[in-house]
Amino acid sequence: MARSGEPFRYCVFDDTLATLLAKAVAGETLDGRPLVVLRQPEFRNLQECHLIYFGEQSVLGPTLQADVLRRLTGSAILTVSDQPGFAARGGMITLVRKRGRIHPVINTDATERAELRISAKLLNLATLTRDGKGGVQ
């Protein structure tokens, strides 16, 4: 658990996105903690991340990414991606485009394994899936 004052770290596997996200979080804080963006983090530092974003243009190949996700299993680190089917492959949240809008798909098995608690507001908005299953809303 992050100590207060320690930054909230976004780790991003996608250069274009990392730049945009850095711009977006500049000056932002979460519960008094600054938000920082780490571009292409080293694997040995991944446990320091609070949120890992696997972009659509991630330089990680599918095998390497699957390996990373496996290693993160049970860690309280939120994994997010806009890759199709990410939540079904062990990731927690996929951001999909649905009828022209961004829509979150949450794998509740994955978030529960990590003991992450998701706000009621987000759960209501999202499509909920389980490992290897279709979504419910």
Binding site: L78, L116, S119, A120, V136
Partner: protein
């Protein structure tokens, strides 16, 4: 084994930023970044991120007094019915009459048979041409399947046609893709219970569908006067479906429903509808075709204590086309046809002179939005209709919108709207009994009022000015001032003098009356509202509405109670909504409202509040604990008849629990 990790709650903000970065940011300019970052999660989810041009402008940008209730608002309101949800909308008059009946209107003229508010569900009119009005208890929606409710105060005749006089309510149900999986929902309380089961699934390669069923029961309420405590217990069941498909470059939506509502085991509503809608966007042009059939049966129904049975079969077909913009012009045009075959029987001495009839309605409309300058737009529109009661009716409107600074909109409009007569006003004979009173000379009085086939449409010319300001992404204001000028409003004109009939056991009086158009007057007022999110976990909404009605009849008119309508809607109304997220899984919602006195029914002003505690027990199960009308004792909110004002139901404090399980 689970690792000894501390549980963490994920607040929505980190994800929100990630979502922005992934999809929204490339589309938006840098200067809108700070705005986007402060948007709420549901607003962000509703944001269109595709770069394709969308002609449909945001409703919030139109030059009219518009209020939108989102699915999230509905969930947090805890409302189990549409009228209940409308209680907190600025400018609407909502009063509960009994366990089953409501009076709902906008900007005055409220009544159980309020006839100046047009209500639609997915474009299907639920306004009943039998008596002009909405049977709110027939409209028993699955609240979880509502995507949004759009409320327009003020006339909408130039777009929606007749009877959109004081306002329009459009309920839009959720796309089938948004209701996938299985939902089991339960409401259990001291006065109501409900069970909803819904299943959503993929329907073919390009589509989604849902099927649903709902049963409910509402318990009886007590009357204010003790002589008759018999309210109606109300039970009902309904089932339906909705499917959405991508077909041939367009979208197809089909929905249907069948229902039966039973009151005191004999009074029943039943009905069914089937609706199809097809739309296609080509470049910047868009076509929309909608068709529906609707069957509605009222059995052992009572209108002013006269028994009635009516069957209405409606067929409606409409087409609208959004043209590609030409120069500064942005044109929408459409045509429509409606056929209503009805069969009505009333219990003698009441009756309907044309018991079987077919009424056809032809309509056409056009609306042009003209960019006068970069920040100044003029929209002129007109709807022409031909109806069987009053012939051709024109409903024009002109609306001007000025956006001096981004996020600030000043608008003004002038519009004409009409309400066309109902079947009852046209051709029914109603009988009402007034017990011996001083003004009847101590004798019982029977009034027989006759419909009038020569009635004219009620007419309104409305003037409105409004201002909307998005001060910051977290703070907005809305203010509207209106002046409604009515004429040819409906009256019940007494004919001659009462006649003494030497009957047994005692003599009595009879008096004839006929429907007329002799009332006129104005309604003036203003509505103020504010929406403020001081923090991600807080939202505050407040509103105040003021209404001042001034009615008079034409000289020599013999209507007994011409000023009744002025005392049926409150002069002052105020609402306060506070929503707070106590924890990631706990929500606290307060809704308070003040309603000033209704002189027609001698109902004093009141202040009351509703509370909701929502708990997301697991990611698949949410529970809520609700209390309604928590301030003060049970009270009357509206009257049931004009003769005996105390003859009204008491709306008590109420508690209920809701549970929604998704699997």
């Amino acid at each position: 084994m689970s690792k000894p990790l501390a549980k963490r709650s994920l607040r929505t903000r980190p994800l929100l930023l990630a979502a922005l970065a992934s999809a929204a940011l490339p589309v938006f300019a840098d200067d809108s970044l700070s705005t986007l970052k402060q948007m709420s999660l549901d607003a962000l989810a509703d944001l269109r991120v595709s770069t394709a041009t969308h002609r449909s402008e945001r409703l919030e940008d139109t030059a009219a007094a518009i209020h939108v209730i989102t699915a999230e608002d509905i969930r947090r309101s805890g409302a189990t019915s549409l009228p209940e949800l409308l209680r907190t909308v600025p400018g609407l008059n909502v009063a509960r009459i009994s366990a089953t009946e409501w009076a709902v209107s906008a900007r005055g003229f409220n009544n159980q048979f309020a006839n100046k508010l047009l209500v639609m569900v997915d474009g299907r009119s639920v306004y009943t041409p039998f008596f002009s009005g909405v049977l709110w208890d027939e409209l028993n929606l699955v609240m979880q399947d509502i995507e949004r409710v759009e409320i327009v105060r003020g006339p909408g005749g130039s777009t929606w046609g007749a009877n959109a006089v004081n306002g329009v309510i459009n309920v839009i149900t959720r796309h089938a893709e948004d209701t996938q999986g299985t939902l089991l929902s339960v409401v259990a309380g001291d006065l109501q219970s409900e069970l909803v089961l819904r299943n959503g699934f993929k329907a073919g390669e390009t589509g989604h569908a849902r099927v649903w069923a709902k049963i409910h029961q509402n318990d009886r309420l007590a009357r204010a006067s003790t002589d008759d405590s018999e309210d109606i217990r109300w039970r009902g069941g309904r089932a339906g479906f909705r499917g959405d498909w991508e077909v041939g470059g367009g979208t197809l939506m089909l929905e249907g429903e069948s229902f039966r509502e039973l009151k005191r085991e004999e009074r029943a509503y039943s009905g069914a509808h089937l609706l199809g809608q097809w739309s296609q966007t080509r470049g910047e042009a868009r076509d929309e075709v909608r068709a529906y059939v609707n069957r509605f049966t009222l059995d052992h129904w009572r209108v002013l204590n006269n028994g009635a049975r009516a069957e209405l079969d409606t067929f409606d077909l409409s087409y609208r086309h959004h043209f590609s913009p030409v120069g500064r012009h942005n044109l929408i045009a459409g045509i429509g046809y409606r056929n209503i075959a009805s069969d009505a029987v009333m219990t003698p001495p009441a009756g309907v002179s044309r018991s079987s009839r077919t009424d056809q309605l032809f309509s056409a409309f056009a609306e042009d939005t003209l960019a006068l300058a970069e920040r100044l737009q003029l929209t002129v529109g007109v709807k022409v209709e031909h109806n069987e009661f009053t012939g051709v009716e024109w409903q024009p409107s002109a609306r001007m919108r000025w956006t001096p600074v981004k996020g600030n909109t000043l608008w003004a409009s002038v519009a004409r709207a009409v309400r066309t007569p109902s079947i009852i006003e046209d051709s029914a004979r109603l009988s009402s009994y007034i017990p011996p009173r001083a003004f009847t000379g101590g004798l019982p009085l029977f009034i027989t009022s006759h419909g009038n086939p020569n009635l004219q449409a009620e007419r309104l010319v409305a003037y409105e000015v409004g201002y909307r300001a998005q001060v910051t992404p977290r703070l907005s204001f809305d203010a509207t001032v209106f002046l409604n000028d009515y004429d040819r409003l409906l009256t019940v004109d007494m004919i001659g003098a009462p006649r003494l009939v030497p009957g047994l056991p005692s003599p009595y009086l009879t008096w004839n009356a006929q429907a007329g158009n002799a009332l006129r007057g104005t309604a003036r007022g203003f509505e103020l509202s504010m929406d403020y999110r001081p923090a991600d976990t807080w939202r505050l909404q407040a509103s105040y509405s003021h209404l001042d009605m001034n009615l008079s009849t034409e000289p020599g008119n013999t209507e007994i109670n011409p000023l009744r309508a002025a005392g049926e809607s409150p002069t002052h109304q105020a609402t306060l909504i506070a929503r707070h997220d106590l924890r990631h899984d706990l929500e606290l919602d307060l809704q308070a409202r003040y309603v000033s006195a209704l002189s027609t029914y001698a109902i004093p002003d009141y202040l009351t509040a509703d509370l909701r505690l929502g708990w997301r027990a697991t990611s698949r199960l949410d529970l809520s604990f609700n209390g309604r009308n928590l301030i003060g004792p049970a009270r009357k909110e509206f009257g049931t008849n004009l003769v005996n004002a105390s003859d009204a139901y008491l709306i008590p404090r109420e508690y209920y629990v809701t549970a929604n399980l998704r699997f």
